[in-house]
């Protein structure tokens, strides 16, 4: 007998609903047991139960259910009904068993590890749920670190379920991965709710936190600062979880321009939302450091790498002078770089006998790099600027509980890769130096099937996601990822996620061997899970549990689009007016139009970008200063033709 006092054991408060049964064919083990209930018991798949025996209390979660009667064979039913299935009901209801299989969540006492005893089975109450899921170690007390993820609901019990911040955001374990079918808003809603919960309950003693979300499709994450109209039931759930149903307060949106350089490439273009929507605009310097992202695998050889390094270290952003070149170069933009390349290639082409090497770099390598880098400004037009103006995330000035959304939904895949790579790399650099402005950053990436596939080429983005999932927690960088098919995501990315959430699943997906540890009944429930319910696996939970979560406190993409319809693409002048008025709504359209009238588009674009970046007190005068003096276009009169001097062809 174990004399250790039962630390957690509290007298049961709910009535007995079942009895443990164990036979030679279906024995109890320390990890599984069976129990029967009456036909009308509230037990169901996912219900948490407690078994009380003399010296042991066991908590378990129902993983499967069976029902059968004493009917010997189906033919006996036919005989009994005289072959008429529509006949009257049998006067006596057959004896029927409701047999449930349960997986053990916790034993009390924990040692010695013994099979589950024969005992009375009760539905778990609030306190039992806390004990069963081992939440008593982190969800209560002064240094609590519980993050509400939803409520466990069964048989009239509705108990909050908490994740442990130490195991969600590190340092013990980290990362969260969500799988669910598309179209039911499970994944996005769950992440939005969880981020809201995280921002409200992240314990002060663990420092500050921010989140960075990549909006990769449609308007999903475009309205996180707009409150939604929640039902009473949702508000009740928020209250039960101790959360306030409020939208995110500090949200900043970043979206690249469209190819015209003035209209933002996002669905969040409604004028009412312009105040916290900024362009994401990078120049040559920002791109060059991540050039390998946009080079395909065959391009990345030692020679190309050496030449890119040469450009990055010696040329871009510096005064560069070479005796072979006709002049001194100061490369700040793609336009400057193109001039620089042209100069090199001219030198090589004009060299006697046809030059092939410039400063140890072969002409073929130079041509290849020129071609690839030139492609960037074409394929990522709107993100990458030719003129050197930059507007970037507030590196070093991230705010506690700040939410930063980068909308890459409208970008070319290559440009998306570039955005991922650069932003995540910068996050990592700043977190390593501890100068990001916050201690922890949650990075949310949807469509992980696409960005970290289990097969296919080893891309830079996939390597980067692997790096976050394997080492991010030491830095405070946590990956929240989502996908429709977990089986198609790189195993190390999902494997390193301490917390796994499954929403409504595709039947084919959940039938794959990767889900074999989940019982057939649980898998069947997953395939038909209603919106708002999730299966959560967390390091503290011995078995995954079903939870229900309220609607997120923000507008969904569809609602947002209806309430804040994107404005249609406007003319260049109108777009400039709107961008400037976003900085100072008191300005009249007429004044802005007057200021840019007759100016070249590229000049206006450069001045506008500079103004957006500087955010001056008085945007219009600043814009005008950036535009510089208007030099009217003059028509040059053709001179009279001067005939060449006739020569004999001999110089001497």
């Amino acid at each position: 007998m174990n004399d250790r006092p039962a630390a957690h054991r509290a007298p049961p408060s709910s009535p007995t609903v079942g009895r443990v049964v164990a036979t030679e064919l279906k024995p109890s083990t320390p990890h599984h047991f069976f129990f029967w209930t009456s036909r009308d018991s509230p037990i169901g798949i996912g219900a948490i139960v407690r078994v009380d025996a003399e010296e042991r209390t066991v908590f378990g979660v129902v993983t499967d259910g069976f029902a059968y009667s004493d009917l010997q064979t189906p033919i006996h039913a036919v005989i009994g009904a005289d072959g008429d299935p529509a006949g009257p009901d049998e006067p006596s209801r057959r004896t029927e068993i409701r047999l449930y299989a349960a997986a053990v969540l916790r034993h009390d006492p924990e040692e010695p590890v013994q099979p589950v005893p024969l005992g009375a089975v009760r539905l778990a109450d609030d306190a039992d749920v806390v004990t069963a899921l081992r939440m008593d170690g982190y969800a209560v007390g002064e240094k609590r670190s519980g993050i509400p993820v939803g409520v466990y609901a069964a048989g009239g019990c509705e108990a909050p379920v908490f994740l442990d911040a130490d195991f969600l955001l590190g340092p013990e374990a980290a990362h969260l991965n969500i799988t669910g079918v598309s179209g039911l808003a499970t994944k996005t809603s769950a992440v939005e709710f969880l981020l809201a919960s995280l921002f409200q309950t992240f314990p002060a003693h663990k420092g500050s936190i921010a989140a960075l979300c990549f909006n990769v499709k449609g308007p999903d994450l475009c309205f996180l600062d707009q409150p939604s109209d929640l039902s009473d039931e949702d508000r009740r759930l928020y209250a039960r979880l101790g959360l306030a149903p409020v939208a995110f307060e500090q949200v900043k949106y970043f979206a690249p321009f469209k190819a015209d350089g003035v209209n933002l490439n996002t669905l969040r273009t409604h004028e009412a939302l312009a105040a916290n929507t900024e362009p994401l605009l990078w120049g040559l310097r920002e791109v060059l450091d991540y050039a390998e992202v946009v080079l395909n695998r065959d391009d990345v050889d030692a020679k190309a790498d050496a030449f890119i390094s040469f450009l990055a270290e010696r040329v871009v952003g510096k005064e560069f002078e070479d005796a072979t070149l006709p002049r001194r170069f100061r490369v700040r933009s793609f336009a400057d770089l193109e001039e620089f390349f042209r100069a090199i290639l001219t030198v090589l082409e004009e060299a006697r006998g046809g030059g092939e090497v410039w400063r140890t770099h072969h002409i073929a390598t130079i041509r290849k790099i020129r071609n690839r880098l030139g492609n960037i400004s074409t394929r990522a037009k709107g993100l990458v600027t030719d003129d050197g103006e930059v507007n970037d995330l507030p590196w070093g000035d991230f705010k506690d509980r700040g939410l930063y959304v980068v909308d890459v939904a409208g970008l070319d895949p290559l440009a998306q890769d570039l955005v991922f790579a650069r932003i995540v790399s910068r996050l990592r650099e700043h977190l390593e130096r501890r100068d990001l402005g916050v201690d922890h950053v949650v990075v949310f990436v949807d469509e992980l099937n696409k960005y970290a596939p289990g097969d296919g080429p080893d891309t830079y983005v996939r390597k980067m996601l692997l790096d976050i999932s394997e080492r991010g927690r030491y830095l405070g960088m946590v990956l929240f990822s989502a996908q429709q098919f977990r089986s198609q995501v790189h195993r190390r990315v999902v494997g390193n996620s301490g917390t796994m959430i499954l929403g409504r699943m595709d039947g084919d997906e959940v039938a794959l061997p990767g889900y074999a540890t989940i019982s057939p009944a649980t898998r069947a429930r997953l395939a038909a899970l209603p919106k708002g319910e999730l299966l959560v696996r967390h390091p503290h939970f011995t078995q995954p549990v079903f939870v229900r979560f309220p609607r997120p406190p923000v507008l969904s993409g569809r609602e947002g689009i209806e309430m804040f319809p994107p404005r249609p693409e406007v003319s260049f002048e109108e777009a400039v007016v709107r961008r400037v008025r976003a900085l100072d709504p008191s300005l009249s359209s007429g004044r802005i139009l007057e200021a840019i009238a007759g100016r070249r588009e590229e000049d206006v674009r450069r001045a506008l970008h500079a103004t957006i970046r500087a955010r001056p007190e008085q945007p219009l005068p600043f814009l005008v200063r950036c535009l510089g003096k208007d030099v009217p276009i003059e028509t040059v009169r053709s001179r009279d033709v001067v005939l060449p001097v006739r020569t004999s062809g001999e110089y001497y």
């Binding site: 004493d70 005289d82 049998e90 006596s92 209801r93």
Partner: protein
């Protein structure tokens, strides 16, 4: 010294069960056998010779008085559900040889009976009673006295000298009487509590009270004793499904007169002559004759669901439920 935990667990595995609400707990037969194994003069035993399994009921024809002459097969009409709540009563018995005192067997008997009442379509147990007994000659019982303190005993007659096979037969008969007594006990308790229809497995004639009860029905599955002979017997045994025989009054009943009739629950063609044939008993009053068709229709409705038993053609599901309940608690 560290306590032994293995044997302790075995000992505690033997559970005690109350005979009836409020009655003291009784040891199981296996526990009794274990206790008797240590008694001087007793040799433990675990089986009994095949020849001692009791004689089957003697097959004979005991002519009955036919009340609806001549004896014919009558269609009873379509099945009709029993109105309101109805109860089912059955009992079980089990005998085991526990030890021998020389040539004298000492048997343990486990007898039980229960009433399960059906309200709506659900059956639930309303009364049950179990008795565990020691049966043997007085000398054998005296040897076991100390090891089986508190266990009721039945002493066999000592008129004849000990003979193990005869004593075993006598012991089985004693156990059967004990079972009938328990059945009457639970039946009477139920009748004091409720006046719903009570369907009993077996004959009502064992109890004068039951035989008089206008709301009791006995369903007899055994046909060792047949009520008629000759051409009437053919009519009786070839009843088509859904037909009953004329009502008759069985003769030579030990305790009480009843009215009875044969009823074919299932078509027997291609099976056995007795397939689906039961003898129905009810109180010996004129109303019974008038109600024979109606009661038969009720019993036809009780054919379904089929019992999970090899005797499903004659074993009503309600009766089967009582038996299953009692065996599950053995």
């Amino acid at each position: 010294m560290r306590p032994s935990i293995g044997s302790c667990a075995l000992s505690r595995a033997t559970t005690l069960e109350p005979a009836a609400p409020g009655a003291p707990a009784l040891p199981r037969l296996s526990e009794l056998r274990r206790r008797l194994a240590g008694v001087a003069g007793l040799v433990p035993a675990t089986s009994e010779p095949i020849a001692s399994r009791g004689r089957p009921e003697e097959a004979r024809i005991i002519p009955a008085r036919v009340l609806e002459t001549p004896l014919v097969a009558r269609s009873v009409g379509p099945p009709e559900p029993l109105p309101g709540p109805v109860a089912f009563l059955d009992g079980i018995q089990r005998c085991e040889v526990l030890a021998y005192a020389g040539a004298m067997p000492l048997l343990g008997a486990d007898v039980a009976a229960a009433v399960r009442e059906r309200v709506g379509r659900d059956l639930r147990t309303v009364h049950s009673e179990r008795r565990r007994l020691l049966i043997g000659r007085p000398e054998a019982l005296a040897l076991a006295d100390r090891a089986a303190t508190g266990v009721p005993t039945i002493a066999l007659s000592t008129e004849e000298p000990p003979h193990p096979l005869r004593d075993l037969d006598l012991a089985h008969s004693a156990a059967e009487r004990a079972r009938e007594e328990v059945e009457r006990s639970v039946g009477d308790r139920y009748r004091r509590q409720a006046d719903h229809w009570l369907v009993v497995d077996g004959s009502l004639a064992e109890s004068p009270g039951w035989a008089r009860d206008p709301r009791m029905i006995g369903v007899v599955k055994s046909h060792a004793s047949l009520p008629v002979g000759g051409e009437d017997l053919r009519t009786y045994l070839e009843l088509p499904a859904g037909h009953r025989s004329s009502v008759f009054q069985p003769a030579s009943r030990r305790h009480a007169p009843v009215y009875a009739w044969g009823l074919r629950l299932w078509d027997w063609a291609g099976k056995d002559l007795l397939f689906g044939l039961v003898r129905v008993e009810a109180a010996p009053v004129p109303d019974t004759v008038a109600s024979a068709d109606r009661i038969s229709r009720w019993l036809l409705a009780e054919r379904s669901p089929l019992s999970a038993d090899g005797r499903w053609d004659r074993l009503l599901y309600g009766i089967h439920g009582v038996e299953a309940y009692l065996r599950a608690r053995q």
